[in-house]
Structure formats: C-alpha cells, structure tokens
C-alpha cells in the first residue's frame, strides 16, 4: 500500500493547475533575473540560464518526491531528523566558511546547506510527532516540552552558524504547525508573555553586532544611509519609483544602475516592482496568495493527519519565506537573507521550494488512496 509506485490513477490525480501556477511564478522569475543581471556584464553562463537549469532540476525533484508515497516520509522522518542534526554539528566543526558564516558542507563536487534541508525535515518530524500525539484536548504547555526540544536544538545550531534568517524561519514553520494542531488559549498567552524576556536576553547575549545593526537600521534606516540602512532605502526607492505601471522591462534605473543590493537574489522583487509597478506587484502577490491558499486547501482535503500537518508545514514554509522577503524589500521587516521562493535566483532556494512543492503534489495526488 505504501510502496513507491506510479499508477495511472496517480497521474490522473496530478494537480496540473498547481504545476502551472508554480511554473508561471518561476518563469516570471527567470525574466526578472534576466533584467536584474543585464547590467552585470558577467562572462560565462548568464544567471537566467542557470536559473532555468535549477528549475529543471527542481522539477525532476518534484517528480522524484511525487513518486514516493509521502507516508514513507513519516516512517523515516525521525531518521532524517537525526541525520540532519548530525550534519548541522558537522557543519559547525568542519563547515565551509563564506562571508563570515559557516553554513555549507563540501561534498567535493558540490556543497550542501544542511540548514536548508532541515526546514523540510523539521516539517516531517514535527508532523509525525503531532500526528501521533494522543491528547483529547488542545495542546498545553506540558505537551509542548518535547517539541520545543525537538525544534530548539537545531534552531540553536543554525543560529550558531550564524544564520538568523533560517533559524527564525524554522521556528516560525514549527509554530505554524502547532497553531494548526491547536494550542489552548492559556498556553498561548503564557508563551507570548515569556517571549518578552526571551527577546531581551537574546538581544543582549545572543545577537551579533551586525544583526543588531540590521534591526536598528530597519527601525530607522536614516541611521546609516550609506551603510546597512542603504539597502532598505534603495529598495524602497526602487519599489516606490515604479509607480502604478512601472518603468518597463530592463528600464528600472535603480536596478540597471545597480543601486540595489543582491538584486537577482534577495532583492529580486524590488527589481520587478520597479519595472512593473503596482500592477506587477499585485500580480505577483496574487500568484503567491493563490499558491498559499492552494497549499492550505491540500491540507484540508487530505484524509490523514500526518499528510495534513505536512501540507500545512510546507505551506507555512513557503508563506513565511514570501512574507519575510517581500516585507523586507518594501521596508516592513529588517534585512534578513531570505530569498523569494521560486522567484529569486539561487539553486538552494529553488531546490528547497521544489521539494516542498513535490510534497504538496504528493499529498494532493494521494488524497483518495487512503
């Protein structure tokens, strides 16, 4: 029953509309990357072509993860979890350092980023834990002890790299799953209150200066208009100057003259909003909101508990990436290095997103099989 096989029924149940949505977002992303990197003058394979390779690789991962019944993931999720925690420890000891952070493991021919894989694995492990939790009521504090340990360990390891963005994302994803499972109001209030001292302690003992600066500069970008506040200011200028209909493809002055930082990766959305204006921005937000609601719909229609939790987790992962990234480039959140799923340039992000999408497709196509 749970064996990996593909039968005609599954192909018939494949969610082609969702695939069309995903490919639309990715295709717009490729055009946008073309524009964002037009001024780079790089030799070698251009970014938009490389992004196409990543999309093709991502799609093959979608096919791969579809072909394995997601119920198998439940059985192996703790194993995966254990392996990933181990890998995170290895990263700390023997990771490859780049730009002040140790995030990668070198496997000779390519590098992997365990924290990125951890997002997916954490969703699986959390889903499994709550799917098997036998309590007749909403979650209370004592029910959360083990999940906190389950999540807290990897989050701390990721923060140690340091990669605050990913750590926050992992925590947010797990929190979203918990909310879905249901937390009693009293517990929710307790957690909210205990967050205050936690933030205080975190600020004073944990955050690095550059991270503090990012937050302070976010709260007041004029604090250092040429330094780290520069990114927020320039990105807001790019988005705002796009106006209702934008400056046109390849005609964004902020991006073409390279006033934007990281404009093909984290700030890709600013490039798009500058060149396509409010109309373009609204178009992208619509695509994304449909994607998210679709994901939640998959969770709703899923007939088993694990699958439903898994779908919510994957959807939460996409949701938080999208919200934090767009919120950042339009000046609502501090600058954290979070790419826009399916849209920003980058292999890691594309693979994680596509694996997540694969899981959603997987759940969707097997909803009648239970």
């Amino acid at each position: 029953m749970k064996l990996a096989f593909i039968d005609r029924r599954l192909v018939a149940n494949f969610d082609w509309k969702l695939l069309a949505l995903v490919l639309t977002i990715a295709a717009v992303g490729v055009f946008n990357i073309y524009s964002a990197t037009a001024s780079y003058g790089i030799s070698g394979t251009p970014y938009h072509v490389r992004q196409l390779y990543w999309i093709v690789l991502g799609l093959s991962l979608v096919v791969l993860s579809c072909s394995i019944d997601y119920h198998l993931f439940e059985d192996f999720s703790y194993w995966f979890y254990g392996i990933l925690v181990f890998l995170l420890l290895v990263v700390l000891v023997a990771g490859r350092t780049s730009m002040g952070a140790t995030r990668w493991l070198s496997l000779g021919f390519f590098n992997i980023q365990p924290s990125e894989i951890m997002k997916i694995v954490m969703i699986m492990a959390t889903a499994r834990y709550f799917a098997n939790l036998q309590v007749p009521h909403s979650l209370r504090l004592r029910d959360l002890g083990l999940p906190f340990l389950l999540v807290g360990g990897p989050v701390l390891l990721i923060m140690k790299q340091p990669d605050l963005g990913t750590a926050i994302l992992v925590a947010l994803i797990v929190a979203s799953i918990m909310l879905y499972v249901g937390i009693s109001p009293a517990t929710l209030a307790t957690l909210a209150l205990s967050a205050v001292p936690a933030i205080y302690m975190g600020w004073h003992f944990y955050l690095r200066d550059y991270q503090k600066n990012r937050i302070l500069n976010f709260l007041n970008p004029e604090r250092d208009p040429l330094g780290s506040g520069y990114h927020i200011i320039q990105s807001k200028i790019a988005v705002g100057s796009g106006g209702p209909f934008g400056k046109g493809f390849l005609a964004g002055t902020q991006s073409q003259l390279r006033f934007l930082p990281e404009q093909h990766t984290d700030f890709a959305f600013s490039v798009f909003a500058e060149e396509w204006g409010f109309a373009g921005g609204m178009f992208m937000l619509t695509l994304y909101v449909v994607l998210i609601l679709w994901g939640l719909d998959i969770a709703r229609k899923c007939n088993d508990y694990f699958g439903s939790l898994l779908a919510v987790g994957v959807t939460a992962m996409l949701f938080w990436h999208i919200v934090i990234n767009i919120g950042m480039v339009i000046g609502l959140f501090p600058v954290v290095g979070v790419p826009l799923p399916l849209f920003s340039y980058g292999g890691t992000s594309m693979i994680t997103s596509m694996v997540g999408m694969g899981i959603l497709f997987n759940i969707r196509m097997r909803r009648f099989m239970f």
Binding site: I237, R258, Y305, V312
Partner: protein, 642 residues
C-alpha cells in the same frame, strides 16, 4: 488508529484551516497596502529620489574674463590647471582614500582631511577639491590608480595667470575663494561656496563683468559613481574682457623707476583723464592669493615696513607738501592778493604772534616773487600769502581743482583726502580755527591730505587750464570674441573757473622749477621735452633737524607732480616716495623717468643709450642704500618744507 483522533476533531481542524487561510490572505493584503502606499501614494517622491540617485549636476566653472592693457596686451589671463575633486557620496572609506591620495600626491594627510571635512558640509554631490595645481605626471598617476580611488575625479579648471608677475598688482587685484560673509550678500546670491571672486582692484570692482556664468552638465551615474553618459549640458559663459587704460610698457618702466622704494605714482592723460600708469610699490604676487599662501610669504608681506599689500595710489593719503603751493598760488592770483611782481622778503623764517614758521632754507631766499617762490619753493612767501587768504579761501580753490573728495575712478575704497576749513574744524574738533593753523596749510602741511590720484588730477587740471577730468581706468569692456560691449571716454567732472592768466603764471613757475638753475625739480628735466613740475616734501612727524639716523618710518615723504610737454600738455604725473625725504631728489627723478618712458613710447624721444640709464639707475640705488648721503644731497637740491 491514527485516523481516529483526526476524524473526531476533523471539524475543529477544518475551522483552524479557515483561520489560517484568512490570516494568510490578510497578511498578503497588508503587503499589497504597503505597495499601494509606496507605488501609488508616494510614487512621485520616490521617483524624484531615484532620479536624484542617478542624475547629477556637475558644475562647469566659467573662465574669468581677461584683463588687457590699452593696447590689448594681456595683464591677467587664464591657464588650465588640474585639480583633484572627490564626490563624497561615492566614498565609502574616506580614511583609506585620503591616505592613498596623500601617498600618490605626496601631500599632508591632515591638510587633506581638513579640506575633506570642510567640503562635507557643502551641497550633495558637489565636488570637494582636495588638491589644485597638480602636475600632468600626477594626473597620470591618479588615472593609473583610478580603480583604487573611488569617487575621485581629476578636473580641468581655468586658473588666473599673471604673465607679468607682480606688475600692477594693486590695480589688478587678486581672486580668492568666496568668504562666508560674501555669500550672505545679495550681490553674490548666484555664487556657491568654493567659487572664486575678485578680492581687490579691478578683479573686485569689475567682478560682475569678469565672472561669467557657470555652466552645468547633467550626467547619469551608477551606484559606484561611474559616469555612464551625459544627459544634457549647459556650457559656461566666459566672463567679459576688461581693457584698461594702462599702458603695459609705461607701467613696467614706472614700477622699475621706484626700485625698492615704497610709494605710488599715477600717470594720466591730461586731456582725457585716462590713467596710463598706476603704481603702488612694492607690489605683491597675486597668484599666491589664489591657492594656498605659504605662511612665510604671508608673514613677510605683513612684516614688510613698506606695506606691500596697501594700495598706496588709491588709499594712501599724504600731506601734499609744497606741491600744494600751486593751489595757494592760484588762490592768491584769483583773489587779487598777488600778481607776478608781488615781492616778499624771505629771511629764513616768518613770525606770527609768538610762533616762528621756518622756511626750509634757514638762510632765507631774500626778495622773491611768485615765479621764484615756486621755483625755489620758498615757504615764507606762501606763509604770508596764506595768512592773507585765510584757510577757507585756500580750501575754495583746492576744491575747485577737486581735492578733498574721492575722484571716483571705479575701484572700491578710494580715499578722498582732506581739505580743512574753519567750519570743518568747528564740527570735527569743536574749536575755532586759529590763524596759525593756516600757515602750514598754505604749504600743504597741517591737516591737508591728498591721494596720489588727486595730485595727478590736480596737475592735469593745471596743465589743461581748468578742466577736471574724472581719472578712469577702464577703456572698454569686450566680450570673449573681442566685440566691444561698452566703451568709456573722458568725463569732465568740473570746470575749475580760474582765469587762464593765473594758470599761465603758475605754469611758468613750474617750468622754472624743472628747467632753471636753483629750481628744486631739476632731476625731472628732459632735454627733448619741456617738463613743468613741483616738488614737495611732507612731514611725517615734526622732528628737530638731526643729522644721520632718523628711523625709516619717521622720514619725510617725497613728492613730485609734473606735466609735459609744457606748451601742449599731454601727460600729468604724480609721484609719492614714502619716506623718500626730499621731493627733488627722490620723487623728481622717478617722475622724470616716467615722462621719459612715455615720450619714448610715443617716439618723441629716441630710446636712450645704455650708459645714461645705468647712471640714473645707480643714482637711485645709492639714494636708497645710503640715506645719510642723500640727506646731504637733498640740501643742495632742496625741495620743500621744513
């Protein structure tokens, strides 16, 4: 088994999913609102900011207009100079940049830092000039290291060039960076900090014509400040050219005639008022004021007893000494108190009440008439005449010849001198005029003060017998292509209504001063042209006659006024040699040289044989080097008032 709990709570899960969906949709709606705020409500502001990011206005400095002499020879021009400018917005790490520049140009880091800090306060994207006047080699060095010098730009700017060095420096003036005070004035409302303006002389007074209008170039730059293309360009308008009435050759020779002596000379066209030479000696180097003045140079200028920074011709107010006897004589003739034959017996001094007024010649001149009194500069003759005239009648004729007020030659801060009257004293000091105070006035001492320009104008008026022309310096204003925009001609400010016989009698006396034996002005004599003139020696402080060591700053001033040719006057000259002691020995030779130069220039006199020039040159140097000798000589060639 797993499904049981799920099925039991299916409805609760479904409800929570609805909530999650609503939450997600709400968050997206908030993002959309934010986009609305940025892209619809504030699009204009952000568009302006993005334009501001990429477009910059680079000011293009207008070359100042040139200043030419009357024949079109360049007195002040422009020459290209390379400066190093930095756009501060393009500099991320100023410390590293400044230390690199200091290494490449071998300049002091502190000096660069100072300029940088000052420049930072200025307008956005306005270039900060860190070094000017850098050589072509240094420019090449900077170009080679361009990649390591973000924000650095080498700009070519025209700077002032003075082909004749210190020549006519007071007249031409200098330029310098506009000061904070000047920026506040309405006159400079179009100027920016860092602009250059005229700071003195013609440069200052004719700033409006010379300055031109700065242009600007709108350029597109990328985030690193690299210039991508020029969007539009408004080219600068070159300032207008000013053609002076000065004759470069005459000016050169007039300045040379002073040697190291301090003083002033003004040579004027008798029939127009054009100033042909305008000397204030010693001069200064105007080029030093444009850039960074070496402190030791500045100190030397300030400490020089001869005051090189003072415009003596324009602002120097000197008692005219015996040159003023011309006025007293005219007053006497006009008022009918004397005629050509009126004789006074000079015993060497004149008593008025208890006071004794000495003649410069203590042995006395014996019986003197007007001609002899002028020729030998007898003080007693004029004491007696002055006493009979009274101060107000002397003042009346002085003012007819336009003394006592600025002439309005068109330079700033021209001084007016002083012609005292009884009323003036009453007002100024609250006491009435004493008869004893008239006597020094009659020989150009006491309260009387005149400027070299006024003296030149006075003698010119005598020469042309009554027309007071306003002395003027600007002949033409030309545009950059040489087309005449404005032309200036003679302006008669007043007609000094004095009988021509009075002028003739005085002029005869002045001819004798230079050309007859015992005349005090013999050293101004030219054999080819008849020169008429009057010596003057004016007291700086009243001192008992003391042989030898009178300190420099207490020695008398030497003056000489002259015109030539006697029969058909063309040129008038006034010379003041500060602390030169005797008009006849110190000032007359200089006036003579100026006149000679003028007539040589006209071809009336042939260029001299070398020896004679050497001789006079040696004379003059002796005079400066050994004042004691000069004093003794001064007694034998006397010239003025005790």
């Amino acid at each position: 088994m797993k499904g049981e709990r799920f099925i039991r709570e299916e409805r609760a899960f479904g409800k929570r999913l609805v909530w999650l969906s609503v939450f997600a949709a709400t968050v997206f709606f908030l993002l959309l609102l934010r986009l609305w705020y940025l892209q619809i409500l504030n699009a204009g502001d952000f568009l302006a900011l993005s334009e501001n990011n990429r477009l910059r206005l680079v000011p293009l400095a207008a070359p100042r207009g040139a200043i030419l002499d009357r024949n079109g020879k360049v007195l002040v021009g422009n020459t290209p100079s390379f400066s190093l400018a930095v756009i501060q917005q393009d500099v991320k790490d100023s410390d590293t940049l400044l230390s690199r520049i200091s290494r490449l140009l071998q300049m002091d880091v502190d000096e660069l830092l100072d300029k940088w800090e000052k420049g930072r306060k200025r307008a956005k994207f306005y270039p900060i000039f860190l070094a000017s006047g850098i050589s072509r080699d240094q420019v090449e060095l900077l170009e080679e290291n361009r990649l390591h010098l973000p924000g650095v730009d080498v700009e070519m700017k025209p700077v002032r060039e003075y082909p004749n060095g210190t020549l006519a420096s007071h007249l031409l003036g200098h330029i310098g960076e506009i000061s904070e005070d000047e920026l506040q004035r309405a006159e400079f409302s179009a100027y920016h900090a860092g602009d250059y303006v005229g700071k003195g002389g013609v440069e200052r007074s004719w700033e409006k014509e010379l300055h031109g209008a700065d242009g600007g170039r709108q350029i597109e730059v990328d985030a690193r400040g690299r210039v991508l293309r020029t969007m539009s360009e408004g080219s600068p308008t070159v300032g207008n050219t000013i053609m002076l009435t000065i004759d470069l050759e005459l000016q050169k020779l007039a300045e040379a005639a002073f040697g190291a002596q301090a003083g002033a000379a003004v040579a004027m066209d008798v029939n127009t008022g054009e100033i042909l030479a305008f000397v204030s000696n010693p001069g200064f180097d105007p080029a030093l004021f444009t850039g960074r003045m070496p402190p030791e140079k500045w100190k030397a200028y300030l400490e020089d007893k001869r005051h090189p920074l003072e415009n003596k011709a324009l602002k120097g107010q000197y008692p005219p000494g015996s040159t003023f006897k011309i006025i007293t004589a005219i007053a006497g003739l006009e008022e009918g108190l004397i005629d050509a034959n009126t004789t006074v017996n000079c015993s060497g001094s004149y008593k008025l009440g208890k006071q004794t007024f000495k003649c410069w010649d203590k042995h006395g001149h014996g019986p003197v008439n007007l001609r002899r009194a002028l020729k030998e500069s007898c003080d007693v003759y004029f004491y007696q005449l002055g006493e009979r005239l009274g101060v107000d009648r002397i003042a009346k004729y002085a003012k007819k010849l336009n003394l006592g007020a600025p002439m309005g030659i068109g330079l700033e801060n021209e001084k007016g001198g002083l012609i005292p009257t009884a009323e003036w004293k009453e007002k100024k000091q609250g006491t009435k005029w004493f008869r004893g105070e008239t006597l020094p006035v009659s020989i150009g001492q006491g309260y009387v003060l005149t400027t070299p320009i006024q003296l030149a104008s006075m003698i010119a008026t005598v020469a042309n017998e009554g027309t007071v022309y306003r002395p003027y310096l600007i002949k033409k204003v030309l545009d950059k292509d040489g087309a005449v925009l404005r032309e200036f001609g003679p302006t008669a400010v007043a007609k000094a209504d004095v009988k021509s016989t009075s002028y003739r009698l005085v002029k005869e006396g002045l001819l004798a001063v230079v050309n007859e034996s015992k005349g005090t002005g013999g050293m101004a004599r030219l054999y080819e042209v008849k020169v008429a003139g009057k010596t003057g020696t004016s007291q700086v402080v009243k001192l008992p006659a003391r042989k030898g060591g009178i300190p420099y700053e207490r020695r008398d001033h030497a003056l000489f006024v002259a015109f030539a040719p006697y029969d058909k006057p063309e040129i008038a000259v006034a010379v003041v040699v500060e602390h030169g002691e005797h008009g006849g020995s110190a000032a007359a030779p200089i006036a003579g040289k100026i006149l000679r130069a003028y007539f040589e220039g006209k071809g009336v006199i042939k260029r001299p044989v070398r020896e004679t020039e050497d001789e006079t040159g040696a004379d003059e140097e002796d005079a400066e080097a050994t004042p004691a000798v000069l004093r003794r000589e001064g007694e034998s060639v006397p010239g003025g008032t005790e």
